[in-house]
C-alpha cells in the first residue's frame, strides 16, 4: 500500500487550482490584501476622507469633509434672509444660502488647520465663550426639583425682597441758625416753613425707591435715614452747604416676596448658580488632566 501524497512521483499542484491548498497562493493573497488595505488607509489619511460616507443624512443639507450642515439651519437662514417661507424660496435663493454655509464651513475648517485657534484672539475668546456656554446649556436642560427651588429660596430670601420705598423731606438750616432747636421744633410738629427752613430739592418727588434716595442723599446720610420710622426727624447733619435735617414722611423697608411670586427668578438664580458651580468644576477638571509646566521663576 502506497501513500499518494508522500509519493515523489506526484507533481506540485498549480496555484490556479482552487481545489488544492497551495502555500504560495496563500502568501500572495495575504500580501495583496495587506497592500490594498495600506493603500485605502493611505488614501484616507492623506485626503482627509478616511471615514467618508456616500449618503448625506436626512437631517443635513450637506456634509463638508464629513462635518454636517444642518438642513434646519439652512431653512432658518433662507427664511431670515429672504423673508419668505421656505416653500416659497426659489432654488437660486436656497442655493445661495447653501453656498454661503459651505463657504463658512470651509473657512472654519481651514482656520482650524491654520491654527487660528492659537493665534487669533477673537477666535480664542469665542471658543472660551462657546465652551462655557456649552456647559451652561447642558446644565439648563434638566429642570430642578421643586424642593430644590424652595430650599434655594429659603437660603437667599433677601434677594427676592422688593425694593424699599421712602418719602422724605430734606431741609437745610441757614448758617448761624440753631439747627438742634429746629430739629426739636420739627419733632414737636412745627412746619419747616414756619421755622424758615428751605428744601434741598433733592428728594421732593414723593415716594422713591431706596436706591434713588441713596443716590439723592448720598450714602452716609441715607444710611442714617433708612432706619428712621414714619414721621421721624433726623439729627442735624453738617454739610458744606449748611446743616441738613431729614424728615421721614413714610418709610417702607423691603418686604420679602412670597416664593410663589418669585418662582421665576428663583429658577433663574438657581440655574445661574448651578452653571457657575459646573464651570468652576470644569476649570478644575481641565487643570487636573492637563500637563501644565510652569517656568521655575514663575512658580
Amino acid at each position: 500500500m502506497t501513500d499518494p501524497i508522500a509519493s515523489p512521483a506526484t507533481s506540485a499542484p498549480s496555484v490556479w487550482d482552487i481545489h488544492q491548498p497551495v502555500g504560495r497562493r496563500s502568501l500572495a493573497l495575504a500580501a495583496a490584501g495587506a497592500l490594498i488595505g495600506l493603500a485605502i488607509a493611505g488614501y484616507g489619511l492623506f485626503t482627509a476622507q478616511g471615514t467618508r460616507t456616500a449618503i448625506v443624512p436626512a437631517e443635513d443639507a450637506a456634509l463638508i469633509n464629513n462635518v454636517p450642515l444642518l438642513r434646519a439651519d439652512m431653512i432658518a437662514q433662507v427664511t431670515a434672509l429672504y423673508g419668505v417661507p421656505y416653500a416659497q424660496a426659489t432654488p437660486a435663493q436656497r442655493h445661495n444660502v447653501l453656498e454661503d454655509m459651505i463657504r463658512e464651513e470651509l473657512y472654519v475648517q481651514r482656520g482650524v488647520e491654520m491654527g487660528l485657534t492659537n493665534d487669533d484672539t477673537d477666535v480664542r475668546a469665542a471658543l472660551i465663550q462657546a465652551t462655557e456656554g456649552q456647559i451652561a446649556q447642558d446644565a439648563m436642560t434638566a429642570k430642578p426639583a421643586e424642593d430644590e427651588l424652595v430650599r434655594w429660596y429659603a437660603g437667599h430670601k433677601d434677594r427676592y425682597a422688593g425694593e424699599g420705598m421712602i418719602a422724605l423731606h430734606e431741609w437745610i438750616a441757614p448758617r448761624g441758625s440753631d439747627a438742634a432747636q429746629a430739629v426739636a421744633a420739627l419733632r414737636r410738629g412745627a412746619t419747616a416753613q414756619w421755622l424758615g427752613l428751605k428744601t434741598s430739592g433733592r428728594v421732593d418727588d414723593g415716594d422713591e425707591f431706596y436706591f434713588a434716595a441713596e443716590e439723592h442723599l448720598g450714602k452716609a446720610l441715607f444710611t442714617l435715614v433708612r432706619r428712621l420710622p414714619d414721621g421721624a426727624v433726623s439729627d442735624p447733619v453738617a454739610a458744606p452747604d449748611g446743616v441738613h435735617i431729614v424728615q421721614v414722611v413714610a418709610n417702607r423697608p423691603p418686604q420679602p416676596t412670597p416664593y410663589a411670586k418669585a418662582r421665576d427668578q428663583v429658577l433663574n438664580d438657581f440655574l445661574a448658580d448651578k452653571v457657575a458651580r459646573l464651570q468652576d468644576g470644569n476649570r478644575t477638571f481641565l487643570k487636573k488632566r492637563a500637563d501644565i509646566k510652569i517656568a521655575s521663576d514663575l512658580q
Partner: protein, 257 residues
C-alpha cells in the same frame, strides 16, 4: 424551487409551522425597521411647514414628537402644554407666540438653540428690564422709574383690557411709556416684537399673569425666562418631531376663525 420543496418536505409539519411563523415575524420586523427610518427621513427632508398637512408625515412626527415632549418639555410646559405662569412658561395651545410666528422651523430652532440658554444661536437679544433697580438693564442704559411712574405704567397697560382704576394715571401712561424706553422693544403701538420676544401689551394674553400686581412686578423686577437648548441632548429627528407636535397644539387659522 426544488430546494424550497426539499426544505419543506424535510422538516416535520409542526416544526414547519414554527419556522414559517418565525420567518414571518422576522420579515415583519425587518419591514417595520426598514420603513420607519425611511418615514423619519422623509419627515426630516420635508419642508417643516408641510409636515402637518401630509397625513403620513404627520402621523410619524406626532407619534414620536409626543414622546419627546413628554420626556423633555412637559416638566415645564405641562402634559397638555398649557404652561406655567409662575415660571413664565408659555401656553403652547393658545396660538400666541412670543418668539416668531409659531412655524415648525421656528419652534424647532427654539428647541435646538433655546432662549437665553447661553447658546449663541438661540434667542438672546432682550430681557424685560427691572425698572425698580438702579440699573434696570445690564446691556442698555435705561432710566430707573419711580414708584409713581411704575404705577402709571401699570394702569396704562391695564387700560387696554378695560381694567384700569385710575384715569389720571392712564392719562400719564403714554409719557411714562416713552420716558422709560418701553417703546424700544414693545413698539410705539405696544404691539410687541416677535423678533426679540417682546410681547404685545394690548391683548389679554399674559406670560407671567395679568393682574395689576403681576404687571407691577414685571415692570419693577424684570423678567428673563429661559428655554433650554436641546441641541446636544436630542437628535435631529427628535427635535423635528417635537417641533411638529408643539405646532400641532396651537389652533390652526381655520380653528381660530
Amino acid at each position: 424551487m426544488s430546494f424550497v420543496v426539499d426544505f419543506v418536505t424535510a422538516i416535520k409539519p409542526r416544526r414547519l409551522r414554527w419556522a414559517l411563523l418565525l420567518l414571518a415575524g422576522g420579515a415583519v420586523a425587518l419591514g417595520v425597521g426598514a420603513l420607519q427610518p425611511n418615514a423619519q427621513s422623509a419627515v426630516l427632508r420635508a419642508d417643516p411647514e408641510a409636515i402637518l398637512g401630509d397625513p403620513q408625515l404627520r402621523r410619524v412626527a406626532l407619534t414620536s414628537g409626543k414622546q419627546v415632549f413628554d420626556t423633555s418639555c412637559a416638566s415645564c410646559h405641562g402634559n397638555a402644554g398649557k404652561g406655567d405662569r409662575t415660571l413664565g412658561v408659555p401656553d403652547l395651545t393658545d396660538g400666541d407666540h412670543l418668539y416668531g410666528t409659531g412655524t415648525v422651523s421656528q419652534i424647532e430652532d427654539i428647541a435646538r438653540y433655546g432662549i437665553r440658554a447661553r447658546n449663541k444661536r438661540g434667542w438672546n437679544l432682550a430681557v424685560m428690564p427691572a425698572y425698580a433697580r438702579k440699573m434696570p438693564d445690564a446691556a442698555e442704559p435705561l432710566p430707573p422709574q419711580t414708584p409713581a411712574q411704575i404705577a402709571d405704567l401699570t394702569q396704562y397697560i391695564l387700560s387696554f383690557t378695560a381694567r384700569a382704576t385710575d384715569a389720571a394715571a392712564v392719562a400719564r401712561g403714554p409719557a411714562a411709556y416713552s420716558a422709560a424706553g418701553c417703546w424700544d422693544c414693545h413698539g410705539r403701538d405696544l404691539g410687541g416684537d416677535p423678533a426679540i420676544g417682546a410681547p404685545t401689551l394690548t391683548d389679554d394674553i399674559w406670560l407671567y399673569g395679568g393682574s395689576a400686581d403681576d404687571i407691577r412686578r414685571s415692570i419693577s423686577r424684570g423678567r428673563a425666562g429661559i428655554s433650554p437648548a436641546f441641541a446636544r441632548t436630542l437628535t435631529a429627528a427628535q427635535l423635528r418631531n417635537v417641533a411638529v407636535y408643539v405646532a400641532s397644539l396651537a389652533p390652526t387659522r381655520q380653528e381660530r376663525k
